[in-house]
């Protein structure tokens, strides 16, 4: 096996060791790790809020938290998980690390903007900690007016500022990725040879760039209304609260695709590698990614079926939501067909990826149910919706994030983790997740509204099941901290390409040197040139691996 690793300088981890060399780094790989630290902290803050919610709901009378504190907890959970974990999760850690490596570039197009985005992200995080410790916000993560502008008694403006500033970091990252993917590809890396992860990051970045500014403006207007007492969305002064919902969901529905598209990219890499087969329908997969990104901009009204929009626009938004299911289904079918007659091994990343396919399918199909106007009248604002979007965001995105983390961990750190514990964690995630959220479908069907801090006793059994699942899920999420952390010190050396994968990122040493490659790679073949007959593969620079 030939590699491009001859005469490589010191790895990006060992090149310089001072604190300043980390805090002032412009190396995309180090910035990825800085982001990893930040979002891991926020993941556990958001997870802590979720834990309190689930503990509280074990008892129908809701005795653990006061009602007001309960509102603040689910708001905290939503804001932190959406903007400070899910949206940056895959793009800012794995994306930051992998985009230049996968396309054969030395770095992102704007390394200093990349570093600045991390500082901006943490500045936004400081605002989150500020409103958290000052007493929180009780509007829900959606900031609906007039609740947020007139009636909420929490730190709405601080929360809006946090999300507003966070948007800058999203935009900086998305801009960097788009420009890098357009202009920094290695010779021979034409568009139709890009790994699907890169296509997914590209589609995600486009959505980030076009949706985030609208959210920024919307939250700005909410902030102005709340502080100045003018009536932008206040019907008493001529404003229109529905307009707020339109503008909010114009961002926040595409935001779902910001979360799920990168996950689709990760899963495509994982399934091809561990089935040792070229991805089925590569071109279709790229079109499907772009189609989801584009159509995703025209479905936001399905959040507002019961809010008083006209039946005609409800029908159009419902139809568009069905249309977006088509490319999603194409992707699911193609992953499945890729598995067919593959040489499948069930390594930990593959277990996460397979978990993703199953959970994403359930999340997607229940999405069709809530996109149907007549059914949504019954299901709107119930636990059915809560279960649906957690299947997409947690079952989908978080599974893929953990799968990707395990898959590229040897590349990032140069070390192998305990495969047995990792498989155990992957299975535990799948079991715990289903036990947590499947009962919520039933609760929602029975009529349990979301965001209620108490409920009739006959629903207790479902809530107890859900909370039991949540505790399993918590173990599954904490476990990797230990064995991945342990691998940093005691893990076996990984070697350049432990999975015998085809991407350019595996053609340099693990961990890679500061500018990634000893010499610029020349790309000669399509991605995923795996041979299921004997498990061999041809890397994108033509080497047999």
């Amino acid at each position: 096996m030939t590699t491009l690793t001859a005469d490589l300088p010191a790895s990006y981890l060992t090149k310089e060791q001072t604190i300043a060399s980390w805090l002032l780094t412009t190396d995309h790989k180090r910035i990825a790790l800085l982001y990893f630290a930040s979002i891991t902290a926020f993941f556990f803050i958001g997870g802590f809020a979720a834990t309190l919610i689930r503990l509280h709901l074990v008892n129908p009378a809701g005795t653990l938290l006061q009602p007001d504190m309960y509102n603040r907890m689910f708001t905290m959970h939503g804001i932190v998980m959406v903007w400070f974990f899910l949206i940056p999760s895959i793009p800012n850690t794995l994306g930051n690390f992998l985009v230049p490596l996968m396309i054969g570039a030395k770095d992102l197009a704007f390394p200093r903007i990349n570093l600045a985005s991390w500082y901006v992200f943490n500045l936004a995080g400081l605002f989150v900690l500020y409103f958290l410790f000052m007493g929180g916000v009780d509007t829900g993560w959606t900031f609906y007016t007039p609740l947020s502008t007139h009636y909420a008694n929490g730190y709405v403006v601080a929360a809006a500022v946090a999300v507003f500033i966070n948007g800058f970091s999203s935009i900086m990252t998305g801009l960097n990725f788009v420009v890098t993917i357009h202009r920094m590809r290695a010779p021979g890396m034409v568009w139709m040879r890009l790994p699907l992860f890169i296509w997914a990051i590209y589609a995600t970045s486009a959505v980030m760039l076009l949706a985030t500014p609208v959210l920024a403006m919307t939250l700005f207007l909410v902030g102005v209304e709340r502080t100045a007492g003018v009536g932008i969305f206040d019907p008493a002064l001529g404003g229109d609260p529905l307009l707020f919902q339109h503008m909010f969901w114009f961002y926040s529905h595409p935001a779902v695709y910001i979360m799920i598209l990168p996950a689709m990219g990760v899963v495509s890499e994982l399934i091809a590698c561990f089935a040792r087969k070229p991805i089925f329908g590569y071109a279709g997969m790229t079109y499907a990614l772009m189609a989801i990104a584009v159509i995703g901009f025209f479905v936001w009204g399905h959040h507002m079926f019961t809010a008083g929009i006209s039946i005609y626009s409800a029908v159009v938004f419902s139809l568009m939501s069905f249309v977006v299911a088509v490319p999603s289904a194409i992707k699911t079918f193609n992953w499945t067909v890729t598995l067919h007659k593959g040489r499948i091994t069930f390594d930990a990343p593959m277990l996460y990826a397979l978990g993703f396919v199953g959970l994403f399918t359930i999340g997607g199909v229940t999405g069709l149910i809530v996109a149907t106007v007549a059914l949504d009248i019954h299901l709107q604002d119930t636990y059915f919706v809560v279960a649906h979007f957690h299947y997409i965001m947690v079952g989908g995105t978080v599974s893929a994030y953990f799968g990707g983390l395990h898959y590229w961990w040897p590349k990032i750190t140069g070390r192998l983790y305990s495969e047995m514990l990792a498989r155990f964690a992957a299975l535990l995630t799948f079991l715990g997740f289903n036990l947590t959220f499947f009962p919520q479908f039933i609760l929602g069907y029975l009529g349990m509204p979301r965001r209620y801090y108490a409920y009739p006793p006959e629903w207790q059994v479902w809530h107890v099941l859900s909370s039991a699942g949540a505790s399993i899920l918590a173990v599954a999420y904490v476990l990797p901290l230990f064995y991945l952390g342990w691998s940093l010190f005691r893990g076996e050396r990984a070697g350049a390409n432990p999975w015998r994968a085809t991407g350019l990122e595996w053609r340099t040493s693990s961990p890679p040197p500061a500018h990634n490659f000893a010499r610029a790679p020349l790309v000669t073949s399509a991605p995923y040139a795996y041979n299921p007959e004997d498990g061999s593969a041809i890397a994108q620079d033509g080497a047999h691996v």
Partner: protein
């Protein structure tokens, strides 16, 4: 080649790539800005459509003359900005500085006129939440017009201020002889941004000052 010869940033192969990347980056950024202002202008036009008569009456109190003077100032400043880029392409170093200085001056002039306009607006009691009187003829949502007027022109002024800062930075670069006919991409990028801010005014001026005057 001497040691002090300028080299492209290390992630790029050459200056051509660096320049292309910089320009594409600015175009992508402008796309996000279009959506940012787009959200505001969209909201404004929704209300303009809902309350056409009330907005028209309120809008007649906008200072048309000052707005028009500012439109002329900004358009001229885009010309001087482009002339600075032309000068860089032709390697006329002193002309670069001259045109940039003129651009900055026009930018400050715009802000001065705008500031004066805000003062007259204040005296006119049309500043929502600070000094607002329902004048004779003003209907219920008239205040909304002024809310949007101040938000839109305020955000535009912030953008212009950032633009002035960027042009000042370009003047520093120019004084150090950083722009050669081979590489003057920073100047082009700042020029793109400047023209964008100019374009925003071309949308705000008719929307806020001209509509409903006839």
């Amino acid at each position: 080649m001497s040691e002090s010869a300028p080299r492209p940033a290390e992630q790029f192969a050459d200056f051509a790539q660096q320049g292309e990347v910089a320009q594409l980056g600015m175009f992508v950024f402008i796309a996000t800005e279009v959506l940012f202002f787009g959200g505001l202008v969209f909201t404004y036009y929704i209300y303009r459509h809902l309350y056409g008569a009330e907005f028209a009456i309120a809008g007649r109190d906008a200072k048309l003359m000052l707005g028009a003077i500012n439109a002329a100032i900004l358009l001229t400043s885009s010309l001087t900005m482009v002339l600075a880029i032309e000068a860089a392409a032709a390697d006329r170093q002193r002309a670069i500085l001259r045109w940039l200085a003129l651009t900055v001056a026009l930018g400050f002039l715009f802000l001065g006129v705008k500031g004066w306009e805000y003062v007259t607006d204040y005296r006119d009691h049309v500043v929502p939440a600070v000094n607002f009187l329902m004048k004779p003829g003003y209907g219920g949502p008239a205040e909304l017009f002024w809310v949007f007027y101040f938000i839109a022109t305020g955000i535009h002024a912030i953008h212009l201020t950032i633009g002035i800062g960027a042009v000042l930075a370009m003047m520093r670069f120019a004084r150090r002889g950083r722009f050669t006919p081979v590489y003057y991409a920073p100047l082009e990028v700042v020029g793109l941004y400047w023209s964008f801010v100019d374009c925003v005014w071309l949308f705000l001026f008719p929307a806020l000052y001209l509509l409903g005057r006839s």
